[in-house]
Assembly symmetry: D2
Homo-oligomer: 386 residues x 4
Amino acid sequence: MHRKLNMGMIGGGRDSFIGSVHRMAAALDGHCNLACGVFSATPERSRAEGAALHLPPERVYVTFEEMIRAENQLPPGERMDFVSIVVPNHLHFNIARLALETGFAVVCDKPMTYSLEEAHQLEAIVAKTGLLFALTHNYTGYPLVKEARDMVRSGKLGAIRKLVVEYPQGNLATRLESTGNKRAAWRTDPKRSGAANCMADIGTHAENLAEYVTGLKITELCADLTSFVEGRLLDDDGSVLLRLEKGARGILHASKISAGEDNGLRIRVYGEKAGLEWEQQQPNILMYKGMSRPTEIHRAGTGYVSDLARFNARLPAGHPEGFIEAFANIYRNFILSLQARLEGQDPEPEHTDFPTVRDGVRGMAFIATVVESSQSDRKWTKMKEY
Amino acid sequence: MHRKLNMGMIGGGRDSFIGSVHRMAAALDGHCNLACGVFSATPERSRAEGAALHLPPERVYVTFEEMIRAENQLPPGERMDFVSIVVPNHLHFNIARLALETGFAVVCDKPMTYSLEEAHQLEAIVAKTGLLFALTHNYTGYPLVKEARDMVRSGKLGAIRKLVVEYPQGNLATRLESTGNKRAAWRTDPKRSGAANCMADIGTHAENLAEYVTGLKITELCADLTSFVEGRLLDDDGSVLLRLEKGARGILHASKISAGEDNGLRIRVYGEKAGLEWEQQQPNILMYKGMSRPTEIHRAGTGYVSDLARFNARLPAGHPEGFIEAFANIYRNFILSLQARLEGQDPEPEHTDFPTVRDGVRGMAFIATVVESSQSDRKWTKMKEY
Amino acid sequence: MHRKLNMGMIGGGRDSFIGSVHRMAAALDGHCNLACGVFSATPERSRAEGAALHLPPERVYVTFEEMIRAENQLPPGERMDFVSIVVPNHLHFNIARLALETGFAVVCDKPMTYSLEEAHQLEAIVAKTGLLFALTHNYTGYPLVKEARDMVRSGKLGAIRKLVVEYPQGNLATRLESTGNKRAAWRTDPKRSGAANCMADIGTHAENLAEYVTGLKITELCADLTSFVEGRLLDDDGSVLLRLEKGARGILHASKISAGEDNGLRIRVYGEKAGLEWEQQQPNILMYKGMSRPTEIHRAGTGYVSDLARFNARLPAGHPEGFIEAFANIYRNFILSLQARLEGQDPEPEHTDFPTVRDGVRGMAFIATVVESSQSDRKWTKMKEY
Amino acid sequence: MHRKLNMGMIGGGRDSFIGSVHRMAAALDGHCNLACGVFSATPERSRAEGAALHLPPERVYVTFEEMIRAENQLPPGERMDFVSIVVPNHLHFNIARLALETGFAVVCDKPMTYSLEEAHQLEAIVAKTGLLFALTHNYTGYPLVKEARDMVRSGKLGAIRKLVVEYPQGNLATRLESTGNKRAAWRTDPKRSGAANCMADIGTHAENLAEYVTGLKITELCADLTSFVEGRLLDDDGSVLLRLEKGARGILHASKISAGEDNGLRIRVYGEKAGLEWEQQQPNILMYKGMSRPTEIHRAGTGYVSDLARFNARLPAGHPEGFIEAFANIYRNFILSLQARLEGQDPEPEHTDFPTVRDGVRGMAFIATVVESSQSDRKWTKMKEY
């Protein structure tokens, strides 16, 4: 029987939506304890956060360097087993590097780094250290996204022709970054967010979903990014024509100025034989669209879904699973893999189904490519990483 | 009280889906009788069709020239008052020209002509003759499309930023044109369909809907058209980045290879203050998406819709109106305008709300532009008519 | 080739929603002309209505007796071939009787009569005269209601166990009858509506739909009718437990005080093998719910529906048909049957698929039974007609 | 800062769906550790389960008496703080009684007891001990169910007239209890389930939801329970007419033989001014149906919902929360209340929003009343507890 693992966190104080998501996702399945963390650069605040999270004071730190060093000196089983990085983009790389080079496995928020260059370096470090690295592209954690991937893989759609992936949001339809909203402030700040805002934050989710479901890589693209809100330095909307491997074509659009939309990630894939459709806001339904026959509503938690989808659902059909459960699938699979590694075993293949540093490099390449394309007069720009 | 008008038809025999739609749409409101027609180039077939439609044999013709000439010699009130053209694209122009030059008002199926050049000529003929000309871009006939237009016009969305219009179909996912299907055969034949298939047949519906709802014209675009089915000479799928007047941007995609889709025309418009969404397959609902407030489901036939929407609905809310009723709105508005004209009056403004030769020119310009753009390495191609 | 038939109307002036529905439904398929009518008991109003409907003055009458007598003296082919009765309930019987006894086929609005006694008498008259009689229970005219019936009949659900049929509306949530609304006034008036309001107007639609789809008759029921709005003399809401033939059980509820609802007729049927669901406000979709397999969305106008559903659809899938088209199916089938009769032939079986005097008797028995049950302390009351 | 509490479990081994739900719900917010448990009556199995759950062997027990006694001897802070009871109905009472009388707060699965008599006794014990008791009627834990309750309370619907609550499932459409399925076996066994199956398991959820949302108690009812599957001793379907306080009326139906349905709990409430609708399978949407105005889609996690709904949501709009999160709201609120109690404080009012022994008594009274009514010839049976 594997032991319960210890998780350390960098970032993610209580006023951080995504910090609490990471903690809930890690806690859900009972395989992991929050053991230590740095929750703020202000010592008092970090300590207060740690106390609220029931951490002993000696395991609450103020800098990531301090935490990584101190934890490394604790005995195995007591020290943290992996670290979750939940800070703005520009800080990911240094933390991840130090953690990996000190010997800690890493869970990192997306987009992976500040730049494509950092992403390539990080990939090399992961390769060199041989440690586990998970990237929280959480939307591919949904059971029915896995079912969609399985449908494509097993040939139920035939050769893929067309892909439509979209991610409309309306939360930056006004100049939220000028109202004291921290998250909006750093996401729209080129020094902290990197080359893009909308395309980095949610465009990469769409890209990751598209490549995960179809199994096809984007080869070239044509992007039109816009910054609609006055004074905003980075994109808040973008539309992209895609060309993918094996002659497939597609469209990707993401927006933070689509007034009235919440979190409308949606994918449609059409092959020679059938199509499929999935939408994040109704995640327990997957539409399978055959030709000359009724469209089928495939539901999560049923007996007829694939092993992959079944392994990533916790409840029978009709009992909605949501965002946290999908996020928790990344943590669970990562932890199950890490438990095996820590005991010198190979992870089960189904446990290795979580986004890795490779997905992170693809995402950063996507960002770099759409930004270059958007500034170019040429129609097609090759994906910078392929 | 206006008299019931007489309608003549060119094309649209019983095996033509769209021919019977024209007849049902024209008959629905009781303001018009089918009076004469040419239903086939084969005399016996034309006669048999006419008889099945309860027409007297002397009013069933074999060529459009014969019909226009013969009808023109009948006394007013007995002769046809207008002619509906329901034949493949390459035949529209000559028929419409002769009808107009002989003095008959015209209802014409879309796309309007074979080429942009013909469209410009036809526009000039309409202008010269001063006769009424309606183009059956039927989707803008739906009451809630008119409501959407009214919402934009009256400022409920604020300045428009983003447009997403799509029209997925799956009916040409296989090589239907090789199976004896007449409609598929001419639509995929460059000699009869013109420069495009998918973009001409349904892409123009999307373009017309977008410009009608937003009141903004497309100024330049970037298109990627594809022919997925082997051996097909014209496009069966296309994705287009749009730039519109006043800085608005958009995406238009249309497809005939989206396996499992029926007729999924859908539009979403986002302004500075709110968004809207309408889908043809659920036409009696219009979503109004405000910021920081509940999304509203506006329903056709209610007391709270605009005068424009109310005038184009026949039933109270909860009594679904569909494709034929929307189509019939074009006929009804055209006929009400024509009745006024025939009696020397100006039509009521609300009766003039139907697509005209101007919409037809826009559509043909759209086709010509997307085809050119798709073959170009330049990112942006200006709309050829603006 | 059959000739176009002549239709006469009693009632249904332009301010009557249902009158114009009858005319549009009759006109849609081009097999019938409006030939004469009585549109008001006030001579000037009747004439004005007739003129607006393009009728010659000599074919516009002031009383139904006058119309039936006068039309009967016109030669066949010129005189009306059938009469449509579109007046309040208490007037149906006398008009229908005179029309039938004079030799005219009848289309009659529902509920069929003022009382169950009249219904039995009318059934006897129809039997004696041998003439065609159609009742406009229009909701069973939808193609997918016919598909639902076919699914049950062909055993796709197995033996039927459970039925849930509901019809929520909100239009009488306030005292509309006191505001000058004519339709609300007679529907809530026991002298004109009969023993019930909600149960008569829409409860019978639910009952008709339930028996049509399942092929099972209600045998006994337990009703709780309420009049929520102060001062209202008849029911505006009712809930009914049902027992049907072959051990099936069910629930029927109908309401006119369900604030915010438009016209929510919906049916769900569950058998030993599968279930189905259909909703009037989204009529082009029928859900087929198998066990341990994906739910299927069956769409109207597809190639895979039954012959019965196909015969009653006019458009391919994705082109919404609505209320008028379903209503028109009753008219079309009735007219096709009548054309055959007039030419001494037997109608095609598929043309006889419209509600008849039998359905009318069932509806009146349902009204009488729910009213009696609601006043009783006994749990179960047998259907008065079985 | 409160300390993390210790949870003990009776029942809920890994093959128990609901056992793992309890654990995930308790773990989600990080305020509670699983500290001990009895997972099986077989010692080896209980131990194996405990080990898989990372429990030390000395905290894994074989009988509930042993656990309660042993834990009571551990020092506060180390011993369990409350016990969760996740076993078949007939075992609830004895366990809950011993736990309470020993001084432990209790979380108990529903229905609360085997009989109404036990329920009344348990209520007396809770009152006498003054300890906290939570019943896991989890569906009222959803944020938008709380929003619905708030809408009614704050008068947005006006006086309530009509209620429709339904809970269709299809999982017992076949004789699942004969196939080795443990859960189906005890639920359909009168010795373990009590007087009802369907009405006890899911009918009480519908009843609890109805009373929670409307704030009205059921006063009398008329039930028709059926056992459709041959050989089954308890009901597998039931339909109930309801009369509630203040003249409201309603319908409740629940079914386990509705083939093809998963878990379709749905409630509609209609008042004098507006209606509302919520469905468990799409739990992040609440429809507010005003009269003569657009229907509004209220979404969880938005800024415009009530404080009550906001307090019970963890994520911003568009990030679906599901079954586990709703379940976790009961645990979180119970734990927050218990932490306060353990420190001698009064719980915050919003923390006391979880179902209690009172809800349990209502549920058991509902079961007893529907069973009696179903066997009676009288129409109305008074709720046995009112």
